[in-house]
């Protein structure tokens, strides 16, 4: 049997102090979530000591009409705002990649503002906007009543998509486009057959990012939602303020599982998790610029 070699000088992962550190951080990050998920199956109202396995809180959560409604609202908002963010983000990235125009630096900078602006500032701006400038009519049929929230979500999501798409387009060989044009392809045909295929991975990453951002958002939704347009985070917020119940655990577990599944799909399509690292590359941007 081959004896394991001593760790190399830079193989930090094989040194025990770092292994210990990583284990500690792992427990810190995951223990609360794992506890939350485990205790959603606990047959005890007080939710502390393990009393036995049950699915009754899932049954309760799934029979809670307002919780289900909030969940459906959240998914609808996320789907629509992802779709709009993808179009707007890709267009913004194309404009910045393709053209030289006066005010380009200004547009570029303004596009970064929704990314860096604190959520609370965007939230109150949306509150004021929908109160004073564009009062969203009350009592519209679903899903039109979600319009204000969708608009708010697109406003903070599409700049993230633009950043991801633009980073991808930087690696595009412009000669390919010229070749297509020389061979007689129209502007539209070039876009469809040459540019879009190159852009595709970033569109997937951007869609994943926009969907997660929308599903995750509490603060901005909190300021734009009305009594009949409650989203999942807003609903959980009101339940949590009230008390800690296994029902919330069950609903949360469902969403965590959904997140993990979505992540797995995104990784399967995308390949490398480093490229889906997400919006964090966005703030990093000035550094990455050539």
């Amino acid at each position: 049997m081959a004896k394991r070699s001593a760790p190399g000088p830079l193989e930090y992962l094989r040194r025990w102090p770092l292994q210990l550190w990583l284990a500690g951080v792992g427990i810190f990050l995951y223990a609360p979530l794992v506890a939350l998920m485990v205790f959603s199956f606990n047959d005890s109202r007080r939710n502390i000591v393990w009393q036995g396995f049950t699915l009754k809180y899932y049954e309760k959560a799934l029979n809670n009409a307002s919780l289900i409604e909030a969940f459906v609202n959240s998914l609808t908002i996320a789907a629509v705002s992802t779709f709009l963010s993808l179009i707007l983000g890709a267009l913004a990235a194309l404009a910045l990649w393709r053209f030289r125009f006066p005010g380009k630096a200004g547009f570029d900078g303004a596009l970064a503002l929704p990314i860096v602006a604190p959520e609370i500032c965007l939230g109150v701006a949306m509150l004021v906007f929908f109160a004073k400038v564009l009062p969203w009519p009350q009592g519209l049929p679903w899903p039109l009543n979600l319009g204000a929230i969708i608009i708010a979500h697109v406003s903070f999501s599409f700049p993230f998509v633009a950043v991801v798409v633009r980073a991808r387009m930087a690696s595009f060989n412009r000669e390919l486009e010229e070749a297509a044009r020389d061979l007689g392809a129209s502007e539209w045909r070039t876009l469809k057959d040459v540019i879009l295929p190159h852009m595709a991975p970033s569109l997937i990453a951007g869609a994943f990012l926009a969907f997660t951002l929308s599903l995750d958002d509490f603060v901005i939704t909190f300021f734009t939602s009305g009594p009949d347009t409650v989203t999942f985070p807003v609903k959980v917020y009101s339940m949590v303020r009230f008390s800690v119940t296994p029902e919330v655990n069950a609903a949360s577990t469902i969403l965590i599982v959904l997140t993990v599944v979505l992540t797995a799909i995104a990784l399967k399509v995308q390949g490398d998790p480093a490229s889906t690292a997400g919006g964090h590359a966005a703030l990093d941007r000035p550094k990455n610029r050539p």
Binding site: L13, L29, A35, A117, C121, A125, P159, P233
Partner: protein, 301 residues
């Protein structure tokens, strides 16, 4: 080569138009109105007169609010520092891990970040509250210890006093670190990953210890990455609303909570607008500092 917009006006308009329209109508105008309101005064219940007054900003200089600003900066700064201390070794381990482990470790760091913020905060409440998992475990240990003491006949320990872990500044900082750790690890990793490892190997070969190599070789080279990690962590921590709201006590309110109160309960929009723009300016200053730092590092003197 980038194309001049005049050579394809139609296409240019079609590409730039929609995002520009959206950005102006649904971001710049709302922000602009808040900015204007910050120079306004309340007239009646819903009317706001734009009088160009600076009184809202002056009111923010009141010691009461200055204290909250200072406290918010302090909490966000402490959060960032703790994230840096916890996150740096993690980023280092990920950087020098074999490719397969690297993928999994990165995923492990990012997964909580993709999980809903409210759920993560709720999970912490369940851990920390008086009947939470920490106090339950401590009580169990305490009772065990008490039984041992009783058997030995040295006296009794008395009833278990649960620790007050929730609704104070400690729980706010803990919650912010919990939420923002991935924000720190990812930029640190991307900076460390770009380092020239031969420099590190040279340093170790020449007899410098690991700690010395880290402090004198790695830290200066990775400084721009550290700076961006610090800013990326600090900005959302400074503006956080949910964590102090749910985990904090009456004296751990941060700027965002005060802003929310002005817009909802207190119904003083001009003052809330002024506070919210002060928070925006603080954010810009943090970004500008980081940009200056990374520019200075890049230009060889």
């Amino acid at each position: 080569m980038e194309q001049h917009w005049k050579s394809a006006k139609g296409l240019f308009g079609a590409v730039l138009g929609p995002p520009l329209f959206w950005l102006v109508l649904f971001f710049m105008i709302p922000m602009g109105i808040v900015w204007l309101y910050s120079f306004g005064e309340n007239r009646g219940l819903t009317e706001i007169a734009l009088t160009g007054t600076f009184s809202n900003y002056l009111r923010a200089l009141d010691p009461l609010y200055l204290k909250i600003f200072a406290k918010s900066v302090g909490i966000a700064g402490l959060t960032t520092l703790i994230c840096l201390i916890i996150g740096f070794p993690v980023a280092l381990a990920i950087t020098f891990a074999p490719p397969k482990a690297k993928t999994w470790l990165l995923l492990a760091v990012m997964l909580p970040f993709w999980t809903n913020l409210l759920i993560r905060t709720y999970a912490l409440i369940a851990v920390l509250r008086t009947e939470g998992y920490v106090n339950q475990s401590l009580q169990w240990l305490w009772n065990g210890l008490g039984a041992v003491v009783g058997v030995l006949g040295v006296g009794s320990l008395g009833p278990f006093q649960p620790l007050e872990l929730l609704h104070n500044n400690f729980s706010v900082v803990l919650g912010l670190v919990y939420v923002h750790l991935p924000f720190m690890v990812l930029p640190l990793y991307s900076a460390l990953d770009r380092l020239d490892t031969s420099l590190l190997e040279a340093s170790l070969d020449l007899g410098a210890g690991h700690l010395r190599t880290l402090l004198t070789i790695v830290a200066p080279l990775a400084l721009p990455g550290i700076a961006s990690g610090v800013v990326i962590t600090f900005i959302p921590a400074l503006g956080s609303y949910l964590t102090p709201d749910l985990l904090g006590g009456p004296d751990s309110q941060m700027i965002a909570n005060i802003i929310e109160r002005q817009f909802k309960r207190a119904n003083d929009w001009p003052f809330g607008a002024a506070l919210s723009f002060l928070l925006m300016y603080m954010t810009f200053i943090a970004i500008a500092l980081q940009a200056m730092l990374s520019r200075r590092r890049r230009e060889p003197s």
